[in-house]
Structures are given as structure tokens and as C-alpha cells.
């Protein structure tokens, strides 16, 4: 790979937020293709970050600073892209379910999804089924991401999927679920399209769901 792209990627993985602007500007001056800077350096770096997080090689702070670094790089490139060239990988709405205000996990997933080029709308915490349905109708997302920390709130995921079916919306949107008490069996049992155990894996799952 181009050493300039390699350096940008390393800077993101290492969270070198003070160096990224210089590296990206220098690559732009050298006429490196903007799409390649985005896909092969910035987004590709966040894939490495996700893997490292999944493997407990880095932790939440390192992951967040990597995302900040990535965004700083992206902010330099975005104004230079022609309108229409800003390709979204897909539209996702995210929230914690009714009764659950614990949003650390949801926020990490959002950050990683944004880093991977998804257009993410954060609906916040403690969302009623009706409110999520309303958003599915108006936003028309590719994916709804639901998070729950408590065993007492996770049944709300099932309620939402049932409501999507009842409203005839289930075929138009994928549902991914996550959170401490949630697992793949639960996801299957309630008819979700997928489960991810952490933020890095959530990106992989989202990519599969929109492919």
C-alpha cells in the first residue's frame, strides 16, 4: 500500500489525533485519490481498531480517540468531495429500548458505525416501541439497532420486532441487537437479523446486513 495511506492508517489506529491533519493534508497535496484516503486508510484503520477492541488489545478510551482521529481526517476530506460522492454505506437508527437508559454500549457502536461510513441517527435512550416505529416510517433506515443492558428490558426488543411485523414494515428494515444480557440465541428467538457482542463486531454485522 501507498506509504502515505499506511501512515494515515497507523495514525488512526494509534489515536495520533495531533498528527492526522498534517498527514491527510500532505496526502491530498500529493494528489492521492480522496476515495482511497477514506476507504483504504481511514475506514480501514477503524476496522483494525474494531478488531483490536474485540481482542482486548485496546480498550474504550483508545477506541474513542482513534475515532476522533479518524473524524479529524475525514473532516478535511469531506469538503473536497463533490456532492453525491459522499457515499453512505447505509442508514441506521439506534436506540436503547424502553425502560433502559444505559447508553455506553450504544454510543460506542454508533461511533464505530460512523467510523465505518454508515449514516447513523441516534434516537437516544428509553425509546417506546411507538416512537421507534414512527422513526422507521419517517427515516426509512436500512437497519434498526437496539441495545439493552438489563434482562428486564430486553423483552422490549421482541415487542418492537412484533410491532414491525404488525405494521408491515419488517421486510423493509433489518434489526440488529446487542447489550450485556443479549446473545445470538436471543436474537434468533425474537426474529432479529443479527447480534453483535461488541462495537467492532457490530460494524461487521451491519455490513453483512446491508450487503
Amino acid at each position: 500500500m501507498d506509504t502515505r495511506l499506511e501512515k494515515i492508517k497507523e495514525a488512526v489506529v494509534g489515536g495520533k489525533h495531533n498528527e492526522i491533519e498534517g498527514l491527510v493534508k500532505s496526502a491530498i497535496e500529493d494528489k492521492v485519490d480522496l476515495e482511497r484516503i477514506i476507504n483504504d486508510a481511514l475506514i480501514s484503520a477503524m476496522d483494525v481498531v474494531g478488531q483490536k477492541y474485540s481482542n482486548n488489545e485496546i480498550y474504550v478510551p483508545e477506541m474513542l480517540v482513534a475515532a476522533i482521529t479518524m473524524k479529524k481526517g475525514l473532516d478535511i476530506i469531506n469538503p473536497l468531495l463533490l456532492e453525491g460522492a459522499k457515499e453512505s454505506k447505509g442508514k441506521i437508527i439506534m436506540c436503547t429500548v424502553k425502560g433502559d437508559i444505559h447508553d455506553i454500549g450504544k454510543n460506542l457502536v454508533i461511533m464505530m458505525l460512523q467510523g465505518a461510513g454508515f449514516d447513523v441517527i441516534d434516537l437516544g435512550v428509553d425509546l417506546t416501541t411507538d416512537k421507534v416505529i414512527e422513526q422507521v416510517i419517517s427515516v426509512k433506515p436500512d437497519i434498526v439497532g437496539l441495545s439493552a443492558l438489563l434482562t428486564t428490558t430486553m423483552p422490549a426488543m421482541k415487542t418492537l420486532i412484533e410491532a414491525l411485523v404488525a405494521k408491515g414494515l419488517r421486510d423493509s428494515v433489518k434489526v440488529m441487537v446487542g447489550g450485556a444480557p443479549v446473545n445470538a440465541d436471543w436474537a434468533q428467538k425474537i426474529g432479529a437479523d443479527g447480534y453483535a457482542p461488541d462495537a467492532g463486531k457490530a460494524v461487521e454485522l451491519a455490513r453483512r446486513l446491508v450487503a
Binding site: 482486548n56 480498550y59 478510551p61 474513542l64 480517540v65 434482562t151
Partner: protein, 367 residues
Amino acid sequence: MANYKDYGLRKPDPDFERIKKTVKLEEPDRVPLLESLVEYPVQSQFLGREVKSDDIKSQVEFYYQAGYDTVPITVSAMAFGKVDDASPISKVIQKKMLKSEADKADMTKWSLEYKSFINDRDDFDTFPWEELENPDLLKSLYEVGQYLPEGMKVIANSGKIFTLTWMLMGFNNFATKLIMDEKLVADVFAKVSQIQLMMLDKIFELPYVGVVWLVDDLSFGNGPIISPDHYRKFVFPWYKKIARKCHDNHVLVFQHSDGDLNPLMEDIIDIGTDLLHPIDPTCMSMSKTKQKYGDRLAFAGNVANELLRSGSTDEVDARVKYLIETMAPGGGYCLAAGNSVTDWGKFDNFIAMLKAAEKYGNYPIKK
């Protein structure tokens, strides 16, 4: 008012020596019961009358009647469990940081579960720390002495150094500043810890305090929230100071953290922790943990909250039997829930847990 007889439990005979022996990895007469929190609705249901956070007399009555040797009292700025308006930090924020009295009715304006208050250096400098140094926060601890039955001691629920720091700063802000403004994070950790250390001096004046329990969630289900190195640099030195001070004053040090603590176990032992709780049943194996660290550390917990919520009384009985048979021979184990006894668990399952402890927990443990 209901008492132990109404549930077919044995006559209470609290004895803190039971806990001390267990922690020394010796076998007392029976496996002790231990909790740092039984939620007030559960206490209320047990006693058949309402128990509130400021009703210390009734709380002692509950732990006594249910067969515990200790009663937990919160002495830190944050109570175990939800950040509600009973939490001292909430009272300080409500008193000093709200724009109007009406904001008190809106939890999102003051609860650290919704809002953070130290985003930068200015916020740190102007935060009303002196309010948290107020000895009134120990009011319950001073009060409890007069109600304690013979043999029973108090657990001072302290700690929350890590949790209070990140909650005051907001999680994402805390996590990024840990790398991007390390000095600010170190200063918040230091301030929060120094207040707790100062409180300890007052706690040690009370002869009925037997345990200081550091309640601080350090891990997610998939591992530590921040890197072990960051814990070693910012958090564990404070724990160590607290533990040393406790031991110098003949007070035991217990620690609670949810999540997978495997990468931190040697540190937890090195800190001077006497007992670790609850060995989170969703991600850690009690038997493997005992096998690996049981010669250096005592344990409590692991009756999963999900089991207490959705299981049958027979399943609870079987789990308690398994835990006692696996963990208790040779001492080093107190029976407790997988986090705390919550109001969303089945009350009958809580009683089943107490009964099973009586049934299987007498030494020598029979299989």
C-alpha cells in the same frame, strides 16, 4: 411485622467472627450470608412494612431477621445501585448545581446516569467538592450503632472511585480525556479518592465497622472498561491506600465489580482485597476463579440475578447447593446474589436462597 419464623428460617444469631474466619480461609460454623445491597422493596416485603433509605433501624432489623452477620451502610458519595435522589452525590448536585428548585423534579437534570458535570478544568475547579467532605454524609453510619444486635457488624459501602469519576465527567468525555487530558482525569480521581480516604478516618473511630466494601464496576462482560495499565496508574494506587489504611485499623476490605475481571485478578489481590464479589455469573466461572486464586482470596456471590428473576425456587436451591459444595469447603466463600438482591427478582427466590444456605451451608460441607 414479619420475622424469621414467618419464612421458616433459623433463629438469628449474628456473629461477625463467621465472616472473619471465612475471609481467613478457615471454616466457621456455617457459610455466611453477605450482601452489600438488598433493595428496599425487598426489605419491605420481608418485614411486611415499608423500609426507606433513611430508616436505619428497620434496615438493621431486616438483615438481622434474614440471617446476615452484617448490615451495609453507604458512606461514599454514591450509593450502590441506581443514582437516585437518596445518593449523596445527587443531594449535592441538587443543592449546588441546579438552576431552579423545579429542576429537582426532573431526574435528567441531576442524576449522573443522565448528565455529567465535569467536562473541563473550569468545571473541576468550581465543583462543590467541599459538600462531599461534609461529615453529615456519615449520619447513617453514626446512627446504626445504637440498633446493632450483639455480634453484628457494619459494612461501610465505599469506593466508587472509578465509577464516580467517569460519571461526574460523562463516559465518553472521561474516556477520551483519559488519553487527551490525562492531568484532568488524574485530578478528578485524586479528589474523589482523597475525600474517601478522609472519610475513612472518621469511619475507623466506630468500633462496629467491620468491613469497608469498595463498590466499583471495573469491567464489561468482555473485559476491563479501561486498560489494566490505566487502572494501575490512576485507580489501583488509591485502592491500595484505602486497603492499607483499613488493615492498619483491623477492618476488612471487600471489593465488588461486575464484569470479566480475569485480566485484573492479580492486581485485585495485590491491592490487599480480602474478598471479591460477585464473580459475575454472566461472564466468569466461579469454580475456575476459586481454583486459580482461592488460596489468596475469598469470594462471595454468583447466585445469578437472572436466576433469581426467572428461575424456580428449586433451581435456586440447586444453584446454592452447587455453589456451597464447590466453593465453601476450606472456607473462603460467602453466599450472595450475582450482583445485589434487586426488587425485580422474585421474592420467593430470595427466600429460597436463604433457606438453601441453611440447608447446605453447615460445616463440614456434605456432598
